[in-house]
């Protein structure tokens, strides 16, 4: 095809754009979930385990039922159960939420590997794709504009969550619990119930994000599927200053960094391959170093959050 060759060096930004959308989708969901949980004053490091459980259960149910939509819902449901476990354990006195998160991360990973063994081989129905590149006859452009339905949902969810947090009664309750437990108690709200709901909802989103990994990109269940997205989302929320819209932008940035290695590979640059694969981690680290400070309190941080104290 003559058009394919004429793309030339544009192949890299095109692949980067398409890749950014693909890679960022799980980040959007996990970071929105983490953002909601942290707004209620608790940090859930277990979303890595939730993500893997979501990927496994979504794939399994999609395979068993033949419906990828049902898979996504199952992943969300499993994620919210993990959220509830986290919330329940943390509501006990003297139990540390960061440690419970690490525990749930190891437990979720182990459980997903255990239950997911039978689903490594079979192929499950994948999520539908919206072809926004129908107008073009250049394959690279078409490939880049194949947008997944879950990305659209995630992109719409971010402003919706911002509106929910800032403009609704529910949002106010969640923020109150996150800012001052005393104020929330005085208003008559149960801290643990509100946090449990926020953590469960956050888990639901993280589970959905996990199902994207197995049902869309890379698009199959394997044990090496997740590579720290769940924990990077925590860094991403800090970077996004606990604002859902910023989470969306930050996720896109992370997605672009994650798409760098495959994009360069597509044009034949293979040297320092592993360093490009590690690009998102290095970028996260650099961003964290730049945005953190020893003396300043961070803008927008919920006051009850353990990382801020």
């Amino acid at each position: 095809m003559p058009d394919a060759g004429s793309v030339g060096l544009w192949a890299v930004p095109l692949a980067l754009f398409g890749g950014a959308i693909r890679v960022s989708t799980p980040f959007i969901f996990v970071s929105l979930g983490e953002c909601l949980t942290e707004k209620s004053g608790r940090i859930n490091l277990g979303l890595e385990g939730t993500l893997i459980m979501g990927a496994m259960s979504g794939y399994a149910l999609s395979y068993l039922s033949g419906s990828s939509l049902l898979g996504v819902l199952a992943a969300g449901f499993v994620g919210s159960i993990f959220g509830l476990i986290h919330a329940w354990l943390c509501s006990r006195p003297r139990v540390n939420d960061i440690a419970v998160g690490i525990g749930l991360m190891l437990f979720g990973t182990g459980l997903a590997f255990f239950l997911g063994k039978p689903y490594i081989q079979p192929t499950a129905p994948q999520l539908p794709v919206i072809n926004l590149g129908w107008w073009s006859n250049i394959p690279q452009v078409r490939e880049a504009l194949k947008i997944n339905a879950l990305f659209v949902i995630g992109a719409l969810l971010a402003p919706a969550m911002l509106w929910m947090l800032n403009r609704t009664r529910w949002g106010l309750i969640v923020r109150t619990v996150g800012e001052s437990t005393d104020a929330a108690r005085a208003m008559g709200y149960s801290i643990n119930t509100v946090r449990a709901i926020a953590t469960a909802a956050g888990g639901f989103l993280a589970g959905m994000g996990g199902s994207f990994l197995s049902l869309c990109y890379p698009g199959s269940w394997s044990e090496g599927l997740s590579s720290g997205q769940g924990l990077m989302a925590v860094a991403l929320v800090i970077f996004a200053r606990w604002n859902p819209m910023n989470c969306l932008y930050a996720a896109l940035l992370f997605g672009a960094a994650g798409a760098l290695a495959p994009a360069l590979q597509s044009v034949g640059v293979t040297s320092y391959r592993y360093m490009f694969i590690a690009a998102p981690y290095m970028m996260t680290l650099v961003i964290m170093i730049m945005t953190s400070s020893r003396t300043r309190t961070m803008v927008g941080v919920p006051a009850e959050l353990t990382v801020s104290r």
Binding site: I102, L106, L285, S292
Partner: protein, 381 residues
């Protein structure tokens, strides 16, 4: 103590003094029951997780949990062979366990043991390659120095970022893990690639003469002895020296530590470097005693991540890291038997470890709830 009680009783009005009986003599006056509290609670958590795990085996895997328990015992502590297998796995766990346990004393949750282990292994293998004509003793010492120094720098980086920039150490150390693994992969395929390693890209073989020896005619290598010594030394350091005391103050109340004139930053970086050195040494031992080369197989057993579990179960006590590593090593060693006999997936071990981790954290809530374990202190009015 007695004088204190006496002065307090003189403050009590005379009327009540006449009606209340004199304090009863303690039944067990000097039994240090408060030392037993962590042991009792941890053992209860272990029993609870074994019960939950049995239910899991029964309901989810449709296997006989009693048979699983018997197999696990046989695979971990039942025979001399399984004991050796357990101890071989326990050796690196002691060192990676320390990597999380020591910073935990300062209130820092470092989960970067895997990265320090990987880079320690890489540095050790590289060092051996640079010393082709040296005696094996010199090579081993140099490997250990290089491995622990690399690991020390890696975790000290996380520690100093935490202290001087306020970067969250948990996420930072996790990111460093992925970066370390990328460095390993890049090195074994690029500058440090041995063309003779075909299936798994690896560094050069360190040579038979330079492999770490076995202990006392068993199959257990000297890494275990090293792990034991380092656990004991760090225990003495943390609990019986001024540095350890300063570290505990800094972990308990950072403002009090500053007021007391302690340089919290130096202590933080030092403890993190020590932690990283332990994990780097674990990587060195894996290269020098098991693999003979540095390659991606170093990360396969997940010693770095299991070390986090060890540290939390041991409640950050370097001495407790020893038995906990042996226990967790035993669980790992029994995985193969469960796979062969009961056709359970290899992740069964991970499930049990996860349950154990969560139970230990849940049982944290029981500390201070049982009167029998409380230190009997004079009550202040």
């Amino acid at each position: 103590m007695n004088t204190q009680v006496a002065t307090e009783e003189t403050d009590v009005p005379l009327t009540t003094d006449l009606t209340t009986s004199p304090p009863k003599p303690r039944v067990w006056p000097r039994l240090p029951l408060h030392y037993l509290e962590p042991i009792a609670i941890s053992l209860s958590a272990l029993v609870a997780s074994l019960i939950l795990f049995s239910l899991f085996i029964l309901v989810v895997a449709h296997a006989n949990p009693i048979e699983s328990m018997q197999l696990m015992y046989r695979g971990s502590f039942g025979t001399a062979f399984s004991w050796q297998n357990t101890l071989i796995r326990a050796a690196p766990l002691m060192l990676t366990g320390l990597c999380t346990a020591l910073p935990l004393r300062l209130g820092m949750v470092i989960i970067g043991g895997e990265g320090a282990l990987v880079l320690g292994a890489l540095a050790a293998a590289g060092t051996a390659h640079l010393m082709p004509n040296s005696s094996s003793f010199a090579v081993l010492v140099a490997m250990m120095l290089a491995g622990s120094l690399t690991g020390a720098c890696w975790i000290a980086l996380a520690g100093s970022l935490k202290y001087y920039r306020g970067v969250n150490e948990t996420i930072c150390s996790l990111l460093l893990n992925y970066i370390a693994i990328a460095i390993l992969n890049q090195m074994v395929e690029g500058p440090m690639h041995d063309p003779e390693s075909l299936n798994t890209p690896s560094t050069w073989y360190i040579g038979d003469a330079n492999m770490l020896g076995k202990m006392f005619g068993t199959d257990v290598h000297w890494g275990l002895g090293l792990g034991l010594i380092i656990c004991i030394v760090t225990y003495l350091l943390m609990d019986h020296t001024v540095i350890g005391f300063a570290a505990r103050i800094a972990g308990g109340n950072i403002r009090a530590a500053r007021v007391a004139g302690l340089s919290v930053g130096k202590i933080t970086v030092f403890i993190c470097a020590l932690a990283g050195a332990a994990a780097g040494l674990a990587g060195t031992v894996e290269v020098a005693a098991i693999q003979g080369r540095a390659n991606a197989n170093i990360t396969a057993p997940g010693y770095g991540y299991t070390g986090i579990l060890v540290a939390f179960i041991a409640r950050a006590n370097p001495l407790a890291v020893i038995p906990v590593s042996i226990l967790i090593g035993g669980i790992g060693a029994s995985g193969g038997l469960l796979q062969r006999r009961q056709h359970l997936p290899d992740a069964t071990v991970l499930v049990l470890q996860g349950i154990l981790f969560l139970m230990i954290l849940t049982f944290e809530t029981f500390y201070g709830r049982f009167k029998i374990f409380q230190r009997k202190e004079p009550t202040h009015a």
